[in-house]
């Protein structure tokens, strides 16, 4: 590339960096002139450990966005393999060459650890794990994943017991003084905003499409310093819009208190688990409700696709499969007796007891002590095999989730340019995690089979 070309690219990068700096969170913090065309992603994760349900939300098996993402991964991997092997030639084309190279590297790696015979047996499972984890990680870097395409999910929150509504606990919150909280349309069609005098939570006293007269309270402040201060309507007219939403920002946040009147006293209704978003009440204070009445509707907008490995259920399922594969290989490779004696090793203990009963006290005691130690070691072996499952699941989940948050944070602070190095890092981490998940399964399986190093 010519020097002018390099200079031009450098200039563009610099401009993008400066614009990003000014428009991102750092720029807003430094009160730089705000560039409103930039859409800064919000650092808000609705549910941390699992994907958000986007379809069939109320059914017994909700379809989560991570599940859809894993289907996409399967589809893309299949299509990729199909495209690469559709017209196979002796002298490979570019795509075929790439796939051949990758497969050869995988086969060499697996055979170098497990030996030729076992390596060929392990190859399908290990290669599947490797490819699936890597495709998951790489596809999740595409811009269609994460916060770009949203799905609107409405969940209804109902009360379990009948009673009277005592208090509605979620209040709209104004983030700064002079924020517009409502829009009033006057009789001659002009629109007037109602401004709040101070930041804090407040309660609306009017509803949309209600007409107000001049000086009528539109809202009342709830916070500690300004409590009770009324926000008055500046003009007479009709309320067109209440601009501040009631937001649910925590999982299982209390939303209403209901006095049942009976033994149960006052009960609290909570918002659903792992769902954040905008809340709209269907009831008012002092209104009687009966069992299973709808209290409110929560509108959340989770992304349609979210990296499949950021769901603990997915990584746990893979870990279960991997551990099952390892144990199965141990069972078939060594035979049932040898396999089970690794965990429950009581032969020496029984021998010691037999000697003891025969009257050889010292020998019997010695053998018994060794036997007890063997039993403990068997327990240790069992624990170490079971911890593999947890470590498999949490390692992949943790690394992938951390990567998502890292890229999101970088984009939040300085959009565009700052995210690029982290994308590069994510490419590396995706490969490494795939290698670790596949490699660990391979190593454990070859240890379980017990011929890990004999063949070479």
């Amino acid at each position: 590339m010519s020097r002018r070309g390099c200079g031009l690219i450098g200039l563009v990068v610099l401009i993008l960096f400066i614009v990003g700096l000014a428009g991102g969170a750092i720029g807003r913090g430094m009160n730089l002139p705000n560039i409103s065309i930039l859409k800064v992603p919000t650092l808000e994760i609705e549910s941390f450990f699992r994907g958000e349900a986007v379809f069939l939300t109320d059914g017994p098996f909700p379809i989560t966005n991570t599940l859809i993402a894993s289907w996409v991964t399967i589809l893309v991997a299949t299509l990729f393999a199909f495209a690469a092997t559709r017209k196979m030639k002796i002298i490979p084309g570019r795509l075929q060459g790439l796939v051949e190279m990758a497969m050869e590297a995988l086969i060499n790696f697996i055979e170098s650890v497990a030996g030729h015979k076992n390596g060929r047996r392990f190859l399908p499972v290990i290669a599947t794990i490797f490819i699936f984890v890597m495709f998951n990680a790489y596809l999740a870097l595409l811009p269609i994943y994460g916060p770009s395409i949203h799905v609107t999910v409405k969940s209804e929150i109902a009360t379990e017991k009948a009673g009277t509504v005592v208090e509605l606990l979620v209040h709209p919150i104004a983030e700064e003084a002079d924020e517009s909280i409502a829009v009033i349309e006057t009789a001659d069609g002009a629109r007037e905003e109602v401004k709040i005098p101070a930041a804090g939570d407040f309660e609306y006293r009017v509803a949309v499409r209600e007409s107000v007269s001049e000086g009528q309270p539109v809202a009342v402040m709830m916070g500690t310093t300004q409590a009770g201060t009324e926000v008055l309507a500046p003009v007479a007219g009709t309320i067109m819009e209440l601009t501040v939403e009631r937001r649910i920002e925590e999982s299982e946040q209390p939303i209403a208190r209901i006095d049942t009147g009976g033994e149960d006293g006052v009960i609290v209704v909570n918002s659903p688990k792992d769902k954040l978003g905008e809340l709209e009440y269907d009831v008012a204070v002092n209104q009687p409700v009966s069992t299973d009445d709808e209290i409110a509707v929560l509108t959340s907008t989770p992304p349609l696709l979210r990296s499949a490995s950021t769901d603990i259920n997915m990584t746990l399922a893979m870990a279960l499969l991997a551990v099952l594969f390892i144990e199965l290989m141990g069972l078939t490779g060594r035979g049932f007796k040898h396999y089970i004696s690794e965990y429950i090793n009581v032969g020496e203990l029984f021998r010691g007891m037999k000697l003891f009963l025969k009257g050889k006290v010292v020998d019997g005691l010695m053998a018994s002590v060794t036997g007890v130690i063997n039993v403990i070691i068997g327990g240790l072996e069992f624990i170490s095999h079971m911890t593999r499952m947890v470590s498999f699941a949490f390692r992949l989940f943790g690394n992938m989730t951390a990567g998502e948050i890292l890229v999101l944070s970088a984009t939040f602070l300085i959009p565009w340019i700052m995210a690029m190095p982290f994308y590069g890092l994510e490419l590396l981490i995706g490969f490494i995690q795939a290698l670790i998940f596949g490699g660990l399964t391979l190593v454990f399986a070859s240890i379980a089979v017990g011929h890990g190093s004999e063949e070479h």
């Binding site: 650890v113 170490s384 593999r388 490699g439 190593v443 070859s446 240890i447 070479h456």
Partner: protein, 77 residues
Amino acid sequence: MEKWVYAFRFIGIGWYIALCIGGGILGGLWLDRHFETSIIFTLAGVFLGLVVAALGTYRMIEPLIKEQNDTTSGGKR
């Protein structure tokens, strides 16, 4: 390629130690709450977790130590 095997085996050791100690603590806390004894089971759980973690770790690195001893004493495999 023996090194690969060891390298991958050792990736899991940290998790093993953490889970043993954490499991011991959680189990101890649960027992303490269940039997309403203040701290005895928690301490016992920590201790048990530490012992299990140490023994298990030693067992995991045992082959490496053996090999090291073999090579330092001149014995070739």
